[in-house]
């Protein structure tokens, strides 16, 4: 299989893009007309591009072309993801402190109680559609609390998030429709920002509203900032939880091992991130002539960095296609990217996955696929790796 089969969104290639990635790594850095980009797939090369944010601009990270600066669309595109330093550093510094592990630890009791509540509600059901029942509600509810937006509106946030995320790594995207949804989302957030200005709590919405009040952010920037954090804070975590549960359902012995040794679940989370990165790749724009993996990349070129491939590079990970949570470099995967744009919410995602697995494994004695493994289908995106559905047959611990 070629990597270009993945780009074509062929369902079989989306189910297992990894032979396509192996083919790309074999070739080294090369220009793919289908991607209209230089494809970078080896670990060392991907890491080099991500660390060199001066040469490789983030302005086209999602692959969509840069909108003209004075266009309406420019007011709704992601605020952090597509920015470069020094703007990026300034923008990120507004919220960065709130997302470090030491601060996020305060949310652990909430995450645990949400996991318990969801599982309590499911305990009567033998067959559970895991995505709708767990992988969607947990992260969207958590992020509404962390940001300080009404949890009661989680359903609307999820629907906007799904629609906007679906435009990434897809073909035939209608930019007018993307703009329409983003405007609707932003319009909804306006009154929330107004209200947050006078709030006592120091949640993220209040931090952003204060920056707006201090004249640091115009309203459209404040709104797209919140929008971006909401979207980033739920879609990827849903995908990661689902991929991890599929892994466990296919391998009952693995689930039993972690039931008996829950303290090592963080290593399983890391290994699952390595094998099934929720973001499989992103784009960069070369702002100057450069060279990656011995190949010259001219200024102005699009560059596609494949995290999902780097994570399975045998030069960095022994036996790369095998799940081995005990490997010494289990945390060095690129699922959260690397460099200045490394995922802001990584500590939150890691916490949610750890607590979700602790809860699910301790409250079940077996988790199996309710349908044959060959039937699993992925969303049509070469960026987002997300299952469409995951029906599980679960044996709950009797209370």
């Amino acid at each position: 299989m070629r990597f270009e089969d993945v780009l074509s969104l062929d369902p079989a290639a989306l189910r297992c893009p990894f032979t396509g990635y192996a083919d790309a790594r074999e070739k080294g850095v090369y220009f793919s007309p289908e991607a209209n980009a230089y494809v970078v797939s080896r670990y060392a090369d991907v890491s080099q591009v991500l660390r060199d944010s001066r040469t490789y601009s983030s302005s086209i990270t999602t692959g969509a072309p840069k909108p003209p600066p004075d266009s309406e669309m420019a007011k709704y595109i992601p605020f952090l993801l597509l920015s470069d330093d020094p703007d990026h550093a300034r923008r990120r510094s507004i919220v960065n402190r709130a997302f470090v592990p030491a601060k996020l630890a305060a949310w652990e009791p909430l995450v645990r109680s949400l996991c318990t509540q969801i599982v309590d509600g499911l305990s009567g059901s033998e067959v559970v559609e895991f995505i709708d029942a767990f992988a969607v509600p947990l992260p969207i509810t958590v992020i509404t609390h962390v940001l300080g937006v009404p949890p009661a509106d989680a359903g609307r946030f999820r629907s906007w998030s799904d629609q906007l995320a679906a435009s990434i790594g897809a073909h035939n995207v209608d930019p007018g429709e993307v703009l329409r949804i983003a405007k609707e989302f932003a319009a909804y957030l306006g009154p929330l920002l107004d209200e947050a200005r006078n709030r006592e709590q120091n949640d993220i919405l209040a931090i952003i509203a204060a920056a707006e009040a201090a004249g640091e952010l115009p309203r459209h920037d404040a709104a797209r900032f919140v929008m971006e954090l909401l979207i980033a804070g739920n879609i990827t975590t849903t995908h990661h939880l689902s991929s991890t549960l599929l892994m466990l359902a296919r391998n009952p012995e693995l689930a039993d091992r972690y039931r008996g040794d829950p303290d090592t679940i963080p290593k399983l989370v890391e290994e699952s991130l390595r094998l099934e990165a929720p973001i499989q790749g992103f784009f960069r724009l070369a702002t100057a002539d450069g060279e990656v993996g011995g190949v010259k990349i001219p200024a102005g070129s699009r560059v596609m960095v494949l995290y999902g491939s780097a994570n399975r590079d045998g030069a960095t990970f022994d036996d790369p296609d095998t799940l081995r949570p005990e490997r010494a470099n289990v945390t060095t995967h690129l699922a959260f990217g690397r460099g200045i744009h490394a995922c802001l919410g990584a500590p939150l995602a890691r916490m949610e996955s750890r607590i979700a697995l602790e809860t699910l494994l301790s409250r079940t004695t077996s988790i199996e696929l309710a349908e044959p493994a060959d039937n699993v289908e992925y969303l049509p995106s070469f960026v987002n790796r997300g299952l469409r559905a995951l029906p599980l047959r679960v044996t709950w611990v009797r209370s």
């Binding site: 660390r51 944010s53 001066r54 330093d85 020094p86 703007d87 550093a89 300034r90 990120r92 510094s93 960065n96 402190r97 997302f99 470090v100 592990p101 030491a102 209040a206 931090i207 204060a210 920056a211 009040a213 201090a214 004249g215 640091e216 963080p266 290593k267 890391e270 010494a328 470099n329 289990v330 945390t331 060095t332 959260f336 990217g337 690397r338 460099g339 200045i340 490394a342 995922c343 802001l344 990584a346 500590p347 890691r350």
Partner: protein, 317 residues
């Protein structure tokens, strides 16, 4: 942060605005927009002696075309202010890094600003921000003589919210009365010479923790910081492992080689994932997360980039 690569800017304006105080207007030679900044931010001016000096931006953040700095000639100066005063004129180019902000204006209902001498510079844009936000504020501004105090005219438009208090007319600043009553809705921002800041800190002793924010003048920053580049020993206390960190490896890499499970993401001190508790030793911080106060306290460090000044570092890992 990676805005460490210097850029060349054009000196587009140079005005003496008070005794020994010169204001420079800096622009991009190609008339490009300058990077965004927020009140409290500073830039590093490369002073041609492989050193740089930090100067607060004191113009309008909304003006992306120009930056303004005000520099006091320090008679004891051996490089920085003399370079700016004597070496730069309209049409000169100067190497600049930044901006960076170690003194950001946090949201609050009210503000009290205290400035001493050239310490007025970071306070000016803070006042404008408080003003545009509609937050009530006051400024207590001291200096040796009225003629030595920069921006007195510019501050005139704020009326009696600004107390101009030259020492030869009023004596030392009356901190006791403005800081007598601690308030929970007010943040205090102070910048000025060390004795003033110490006095402000004393008078804020009974204010709620976190009320007071100060910026100290830093004399000079070396371009490359040799401290901490050497080899040191690290003990990972919980794991019971001791190892050597050579100059070409990070603490993170050494931990990984020792089989210690440490989470990481950015590997360059921006994301905060690897924040680790320091049990013993003097860290040399190279991250862009911790505040200067937190860095000075040295309780935690980012082990992907930060190093150690003392020969031995003990970490809670």
């Amino acid at each position: 942060m990676s805005s460490t690569e210097p850029v060349s800017l054009l000196v587009a304006g140079r005005d003496v605005i008070a005794d020994d105080v010169v204001v420079l207007t800096l622009r991009d030679a190609g008339a490009n927009e300058l990077p965004e900044w927020t009140p409290g931010a500073h830039i590093d001016i490369l002073t041609g002696d492989s050193m740089s000096r930090q100067y607060s931006l004191c113009g309008d953040p909304a003006d992306r075309g120009a930056w303004r700095i005000a520099v006091l000639r320090d008679p004891a100066s051996r490089g920085g202010s003399r370079f700016v005063h004597d070496g730069l004129s309209v049409g000169s180019t100067v190497g600049v890094r930044g901006p960076r902000n170690h003194f950001p204006l946090q949201p609050a209902e009210r503000y009290l600003f205290v400035a001493g001498g050239i310490g007025i510079t970071p306070i000016l844009p803070m006042i404008a921000a408080a003003e545009s936000r509609g937050a009530p504020w006051r400024l207590l501004y001291g200096g040796r003589r009225r003629a030595s105090m920069a921006f007195v005219d510019e501050l005139g438009r704020y009326g009696d919210r600004v107390l101009i208090r030259p020492e030869d007319e009023y004596g030392l600043l009356d901190l006791a009365s403005v800081l007598a009553q601690p308030r929970t809705d007010t943040l205090v921002y102070a910048c000025g010479p060390e004795p003033l800041l110490r006095a402000v800190e004393e008078h804020c002793g009974h204010w709620p923790a976190g009320s007071l924010h100060v910026e100290r003048f830093t004399a000079k920053t070396f371009d490359d910081e040799p401290a901490g580049a050497d080899t040191f020993e690290v003990e990972f206390k919980r794991s019971g492992v001791t190892a050597t960190v050579p100059p070409d490896k990070s603490i993170m890499e050494v931990a990984e080689e020792a089989g210690i499970f440490v989470l990481s993401s950015c590997m360059e001190g921006t994301c905060g994932t690897c924040e680790t508790t320091v049990v013993e030793g003097e860290p040399v911080h190279r991250d862009s997360i911790l505040t200067p106060q937190e860095q000075a306290a040295g309780d935690t460090m980012m082990i992907c980039v930060s190093r150690c000044r003392s020969p031995r570092l003990v970490l809670d890992l």
